[in-house]
Amino acid sequence: MERLKLVLQYFQSNSESISNGICIILALVSVKLYTSFDFNCPCLPQYNKLYSLGVMIVPPIILFFLGVLVNRHTGVMMDEWMRPTGNRSKNPAVVKYLFSAMLQRALLAPMVWILVTLLDGKIFICAFSVSVDPGLFSGLPNNTGLDVIKIMAKVPCKEDVIFRNSSFRKAVSRYVRCYSQAVGWSILLFLIVLGALGRLIKPCFDDHATFLQTRYWSNYLDVEQKLFDETCVLHARDFARKCVVLFFEDMREDTVLRLPHPPFITNSREKWEDEEEERLHGISKQEQLDQLLCKWYYSKPELDVTRIAHRPRSCVTWEDRDGKTLYSDV
C-alpha cells in the first residue's frame, strides 16, 4: 500500500509523468480491446481484404484521436499557440516541443494495436489467403465444385465443412502467419532502432541548454493552467459564501424591545449563544425566513460583494411599557 501510494505520488508530481501514465494505460486498453474484439472474417473473396485492412487501420486512427484527446498537453499547446501575444512573448520552440511530445505519446497506442494484430496473424490470414499459390500445398479439396479463389477465401474460417479431414487449411494458415509475424517483428525492430538512434544522435544536433529551457517552460505552462483553474474554483467558493451571507444579512430588521423596568442585573451571555446568534445572521422569525426564501428565487442578489466590509448593523431601540424611548441606536 505504501509503495503504491509512493508510485502514485511520483506519477502525479510531474505533468509529464501523468501523460506517460495515461499513454501506457491507453496502450493496455488497446491490447484489451484487441483481445475482446471478436474478429470475424467474411471468407468471401470480394470482402476479405477490405475487412482486414479496415480492422487493421480504423482502430489505430480512433486510438490516435483518443490519445490526443486525453492528453493534457493538447490543451496547453493549443492555448499557447492561439493566444494573443499581450505582455508575454511567444516562444515557438515551446509549442514545437509540446506538439512533438503529444504526437509521440498519441502514436504509442496505435502502434501497439498494429503490432499486436501482426504478431497474432489472424488479420493477415484473412487478407492474404486468396493470394497464396495453392500449388505449394497438398490436399486442396477439389470435390466441392467451387473455384480455387473461393476455396482460398474460406481458409481463415475454421468451421467451414470443406476443410474437414484436411490439413490444407492449417498449412496455408501457418504459412501466412509466418509472413505476418515476420513483418511484425521487422516493424518493431525498425522502431526500436529508430528510437535508439534518435536518443544517441540528438545531443549532437540539439543544443542541450535550449532543450532544458523549453522543457522547463512547457512544464511551467501546464502547472500555471492547473493553478489558475484551482484558484478560480476556490475564489468562486468564497464569492458564493460572501454573497449568500450578505443576502441573509440584508433581510435583517431593526428590533424594538420593551422592558417593564430599567435593567439593573447584567449577565453575560453564554458563548454558545453568541455563536448561534452569529450563525443566524439576524434572521429569527418564520416570516423573515419565508420572505428570504421567496426572494432568493424571485430576485437573486447582484454579483457584488464589496459591501461585505461595511455591512450595516441592526439597530436596537429600548422602550418602556408605555412606549417611551429609553435609548436607541438609530
Binding site: 471478436d38 472474417c41 492555448d79 467451387l146 441573509f248 420593551r258 435593567p263 450563525r279 432568493w296
Partner: protein, 352 residues
C-alpha cells in the same frame, strides 16, 4: 478502505470529476447490461426488423435520459433558465455551456451500447437476414423451388440456430452480416471520436476567452446553490437550538439565570463545582417529573411560535416579555398567558 476514502473525497471535491465518475460507471453498466441481456430474435419476417433495430435504438435513448436524470446539473440548469431576472442579468452562453456539457456526458453510455451492439452483430443479423441474397453463399437448389413468401420465411429463420437446418448457409450468412455490422460499428466509433476531437482540440482556436468566462460562472452558480443550502441548514440548526432552549426556559418557570448570576459572583475555582454547574445548566431548569411531562406534552399539543426572543441585555426572564414586543402572531403569548402572568408575578415578588 483508506484508498477508497481518498478516491471518494477526490471525486467529490470537484463536481466535474464526480460527474465524470458517474459517466464512467454508466458506460460500464451499459456494457455489462448488454452482455447480461439475452438476445432472442423472433425469427419471423414481420417482427425481425422491429426487434433488431429496436434493440439498437431504444436502450441508448433510455441511457441518454438516465444520464440526464442522474446529473445534478440538470436542475441547476432548469433553475437558472426559469428564474426571474431580478437584480442579476441572465447570460444565455452560460445556459448553452451547461446544456452542452450535460449532453456530452449523457451521450457516452448510449454510444457504448451502440458500439457494443454493432460489434457483436446479433441485432444486425436479426434485422437484415431477410434481405440476403442467398446465391452469394453457394449453389443451393432447394431455394430455387420455393415461392417468395416461403423464401422470406426461410431467410428470417437464419438468426435462430435451432430453427435453421442448413448449417453452412447459416454460418456463411451470419458471418457476412456480422462483418457488415462490425464495419458499421467501427465507422460509428470513428465518427464519434473525430467529432469529440474537433470539439475539444480545435475549440481553443475560436473562443477561448469567452469560454473561460462561461466556465467560471456556470461553476459559480453551482457552488452558490450549494452554499445557500449549507447556510440554510446551519441557520435552521441554530434556529432550532435557540428555539428549543427558549421553550424549555419558558416552560420550566425557574429563575435559573438569576441563580446562575448569583453563584457566578463567587468565582470559585473548584472544578467539581464547575462540573456541577454545567450539569445544572444542562437541566435547563427542569428537575421534576411533572415539569418534564408538561414539557413533552406541550411540545406536541402546542409548539412554540417560530419567532426567537432577543435576549440581548440581561439575565432576567424578560425574554417572555419580549414576546409582546415582537409583534408577530405569537401563539406562545396567546397559549400561555396565564403562565406568563404567573412568572411576572414571581419576578416582581423576588425583585421587591
Amino acid at each position: 478502505m483508506d484508498k477508497f476514502r481518498m478516491m471518494f473525497q477526490f471525486l467529490q471535491s470537484n463536481q466535474e470529476s464526480f460527474m465524470n465518475g458517474i459517466c464512467g460507471i454508466m458506460a460500464l453498466a451499459s456494457a455489462q447490461m448488454y452482455s447480461a441481456f439475452e438476445f432472442s430474435c423472433p425469427c419471423m419476417p414481420e417482427y425481425n426488423y422491429t426487434y433488431g433495430i429496436g434493440l439498437l435504438i431504444i436502450p441508448p435513448i433510455w441511457f441518454f435520459l438516465l444520464g440526464f436524470v442522474l446529473n445534478n446539473n440538470v436542475s441547476v440548469l432548469a433553475e437558472e433558465w426559469k428564474r426571474p431576472t431580478g437584480k442579476r442579468r441572465k447570460d444565455p452562453t452560460i445556459l448553452r455551456y451547461m446544456f452542452c456539457s450535460i449532453t456530452q456526458r449523457s451521450l457516452i453510455a448510449p454510444a457504448v451500447w451502440v458500439s457494443v451492439t454493432l460489434m457483436d452483430g446479433k441485432s444486425f443479423l436479426c434485422a437484415f437476414s431477410v434481405n440476403l441474397d442467398i446465391d452469394k453463399f453457394g449453389n443451393y437448389s432447394f431455394v430455387k423451388d420455393m415461392s417468395e413468401t416461403e423464401k422470406i420465411k426461410l431467410l428470417a429463420r437464419i438468426p435462430c440456430k435451432d430453427l435453421f437446418e442448413h448449417q453452412e448457409i447459416r454460418v456463411a450468412a451470419s458471418r457476412y452480416i456480422k462483418c457488415i455490422s462490425q464495419a458499421c460499428g467501427w465507422m460509428f466509433l470513428l465518427m464519434m471520436t473525430f467529432t469529440a476531437f474537433l470539439i475539444r482540440a480545435i475549440r481553443p482556436c475560436f473562443t477561448q476567452a469567452a469560454f473561460l468566462k462561461t466556465k467560471y460562472w456556470s461553476h459559480y452558480i453551482d457552488i452558490e446553490r450549494k452554499m445557500f443550502d449549507e447556510t440554510c441548514k446551519e441557520h435552521a440548526k441554530s434556529f432550532a437550538k435557540v428555539c428549543i432552549h427558549q421553550y424549555f426556559e419558558n416552560i420550566s418557570g425557574e429563575m435559573h439565570n438569576f441563580h446562575r448570576h448569583r453563584s457566578s459572583k463567587d468565582e470559585s475555582d473548584d472544578e467539581d463545582e464547575d462540573k456541577k454547574k454545567s450539569d445544572e445548566e444542562k437541566l435547563l431548569g427542569i428537575r421534576a417529573q411533572d415539569d418534564m411531562n408538561k414539557v413533552l406534552w406541550n411540545w406536541h399539543t402546542c409548539k412554540p411560535a417560530l419567532a426567537l426572543r432577543k435576549d440581548q441585555i440581561d439575565g432576567e426572564n424578560n425574554g417572555r416579555l419580549n414576546g409582546e414586543a415582537n409583534g408577530a402572531a405569537n401563539g406562545f403569548v396567546k397559549g400561555h398567558t396565564h403562565n406568563v402572568e404567573k412568572k411576572e408575578w414571581a419576578v416582581y415578588y423576588s425583585k421587591v
